[in-house]
Amino acid sequence: MSIVLKMAWRNLWRKPRRTLLTVITISLGLALLLIILGLGDGSHKQMIESAVHLGSGHVLVQQKGYLEKGGIDRLLSPEEIRGVESWSREMKGRFPIRHILRRTFVSGLASSADGSTGVQLIGIQPLEEMQASGFDEKLIEGEFLNADDRDWVILGQGVAHKLALEVGEKLVLMAQGADSVEIRSRLVRVRGILRTGLEEQDQTLALMPLGAAQEFLDLGTQVHQIALLIQDAQLSEELASIGQENFPTLEVLSWGEALPQLRDFIRLDDGGSYVMNLILFLLIGFTVLNTLLMSVLERGREFALLHCLGMTPGKRFTMVLLEAFFIAFLAALTGFGLGYSGHLYLSRSGLPLDLFYSGELTAAGVAFDPVMYSHLSPARILQSMVVVFSLTLLLAVFPAWRAARSADVHSLGRA
């Protein structure tokens, strides 16, 4: 057996150019696969994080029915809030929970001397949101909120434009409070203006400190939502289902349930790249088959000679298979090396998308980042390497079988 092994190895290097070409071809295929997967996963991750960090969360806890119907009266009571928050803190041991945020939502009217427009007023905890979400990064004018800013708001760019407001200027907010039909009004001033890139949000967004919102709407210490932001988006569903078990009277949602459009978009995009990858495998497979087959066919004399020297068909089969094994192994290593360095570059500097488009792009309710970063999990890398490796071996079977069969002694006499 060890002879066969040694022979297989040495066979490779008797024709170094051919071996190298084959290895390079396969490894390029692997590298390309890794890069495509990395960019795909990276862009999805970016989209998820982007959506989750702008007023949503990886896991959301709300009163039952809130997702579908909303309503200012569907609140979480102080006991429920305490319960959820202490459960979240407990879960920190098992899950990488980074932030626990409280929020209130109400739609109302904002008016200035120049006009009025409908707004979605969100009560947030400024300090925590600044650390957790991307809101403060989207500021284009002014500053973010402080916790004790009772009379200051941040407006979406569209709102500020419609009301012809600049930082420091005043507006009147009108909304219906909880438990009452009365419309409340409050004078506030603009602390800052932000731009998310999502037209719907920019045209209606108004942020207010939680305490001020609760006071304005007579909510006491109640809130509409507790959002959990975690390190790894993939754990969202698990955490959400544990949460739902613990709080059967509330609704505990993962980001996929809260943002079904985004989830579907990612699925669609994955579907598209699935097709791409399949095609790539076809190409790799074909190249491998072609190369191995060709080399076997060229070596007809050699095999005949070996046969005469007493090498059994079985051993010849094994030898060719081992050659393929070595090639696959080398290709996997170099492919990984190439692909991974490509990934490293793309995960640092990213792929600038504005080569392809100008302005801003949104899909499924999320704004596309102008730079796409690569993200590869060890699982993905392993998957790809295993697939390419096994594909190569699998495809080597036919050429190996040919090698085993061909023992045409007559070829020995040919030139």
Partner: protein, 418 residues
């Protein structure tokens, strides 16, 4: 002359090897054809989705209408024969596939207990389906002219109002004469477009009913949506209309690209990204072909040495090898084209069913069709053919030249092949 014959005959001296090489080129080409077809098809479909649901390929408005969409800026506001004139002008163009006049408004809908704000859209259902497809989302019922003041509601809106077919809905709106337009309508259909911003706010009625509600004359509309044969020709068509002599000065035609630059951007992005990937895959295929060709030529060093020893000039050697690979390439391309065309014939009709991955996905305000159909991108197909052929020739060049320069004695005494 000899080179050609030599090249051709050399091809068949080792038919197995040649066939393998030909199939390398052929399969690579077939795969590229399919990939290009899917990408072009996808871009076209995205476009169709973007424009097909509601927008149309072009839209005509009063020159002041966009972006504020004022109730008063109608086609026909300046002169009563204007609408007629525009419609007549449009009909003169053979590429016109459909046109649909529309009126828009905004109002409060109320059913006893519940009320909600809605976008009002007045259409002529008979011509509308020649331009857009959103009416095919009718879950139940339809605009009915046997019912007085028939109304369609988006399904989410209907739920909010707790209205169903047969319900009476009051619509109140600010009319064009300053008064409060109001009337009772009967729900005769429920609409589901899959786009939440439409389903929760759209109310569709007959054009003439909305004109009456808004106190507009029957010769006034806000928009005419137009469909033509080829969406890609929309920009040119819009320009042609705007420049034409008899076109009214205050009416402006805009293509989907001008109305929804986002859509244009997205199609561009998708094409760019997939084009990038295709390029890489094409390169990859070329390398594969290179690989095969190089091996084939190198394997024949002895043979080449022999003919050199027999006196064949290096130039002849090189050119016969090159021609051989040219034949290989061409045969491969022909075979590949056949294979690719077969694949395309399936994909252009049946397409790829991606519905396993998709629920109802919307992108850029349009709904995505789960079946991806391919369509021929002839430009790209041609370029790929040229690219692969050049790769084949290049692949053969290097080893051919090297082989021709070999000392015949060395070549002849080369070790046993393998």
């Amino acid at each position: 002359m000899i080179a050609w014959r030599l090249g051709w005959r050399n091809l068949w001296r080792n038919s197995r090897r040649s066939l393998i090489t030909i199939s390398a080129v052929g399969c690579g080409y077939a795969i590229l054809i399919v990939l290009i077809g899917l990408t072009v098809g996808m871009a076209g479909q995205m476009l169709k989705n973007g424009t097909g649901l509601l927008m149309g390929d072009l839209q005509l408005h009063h020159s002041d209408y966009l972006p504020e969409r004022s109730l008063y800026d109608t086609i026909g506001s300046d002169s009563s024969s204007e609408l007629e004139g525009v419609l007549h002008q449009l009909s003169l163009y053979p590429q016109l596939a459909g046109r649909s006049p529309r009126v828009y408004g905004f109002g409060l809908l109320s059913t006893g207990e519940n009320s909600a704000g809605a976008r009002l859209m007045g259409i002529d259902p008979q011509v509308e389906s020649g331009v857009s497809s959103f009416l095919s989302g009718l879950q139940a019922g339809a605009l009915d002219d046997s019912v007085e003041r028939s109304l369609l509601l988006g399904d989410v809106l209907a739920r909010e109002l707790e209205a169903s077919i047969g319900s009476q809905v009051a619509i109140v709106t600010q009319a064009a004469d300053g008064s409060l337009g109001n009337d009772l309508f009967q729900v005769s259909g429920i609409l589901h477009t899959g786009l939440s911003y439409l389903d929760r706010s759209l109310a569709v009625l007959y054009l003439k009913d909305l004109q009456e509600l808004l106190a507009l004359s029957p010769d006034e509309v806000h928009e005419i949506a137009v469909r033509i044969g080829d969406p890609m020709a929309a920009d040119a068509f819009a320009a042609q209309l705007n420049a034409s002599e008899n076109w009214p000065a205050n009416t402006v035609a805009q293509s989907w690209g001008e109305l929804a630059p986002q859509l244009r951007d997205y199609v561009g992005l998708a094409q760019g990204m997939y084009g990038f990937i295709i390029l890489i895959i094409g390169l990859f295929t070329a390398i594969g072909v290179l690989n095969t060709m190089m091996m084939a030529v190198f394997e024949r060093s002895r043979e080449i040495g022999l003919v050199a020893a027999l006196g064949m000039r290096p130039l002849l050697i090189v050119s016969s090898i090159l021609l051989e690979s040219l034949f290989l390439g061409i045969l491969g391309l022909i075979g590949g084209f056949g294979l690719g065309a077969w694949g395309m014939s399936y994909l252009t009709t049946q397409g790829l069913d991606l519905s396993r991955w998709m629920g109802e996905v919307s992108m850029l305000g349009t709904r995505m069709d789960p079946v991806l159909k391919a369509s021929w991108g002839w430009d790209y197909v041609l370029w790929s053919a040229l690219g692969l052929l050049s790769a084949t020739l290049l692949a053969a060049l290097f080893p051919a030249v090297k082989a021709a320069r070999l000392n015949p004695v060395q070549a002849l005494s080369a070790p046993v092949e393998g």
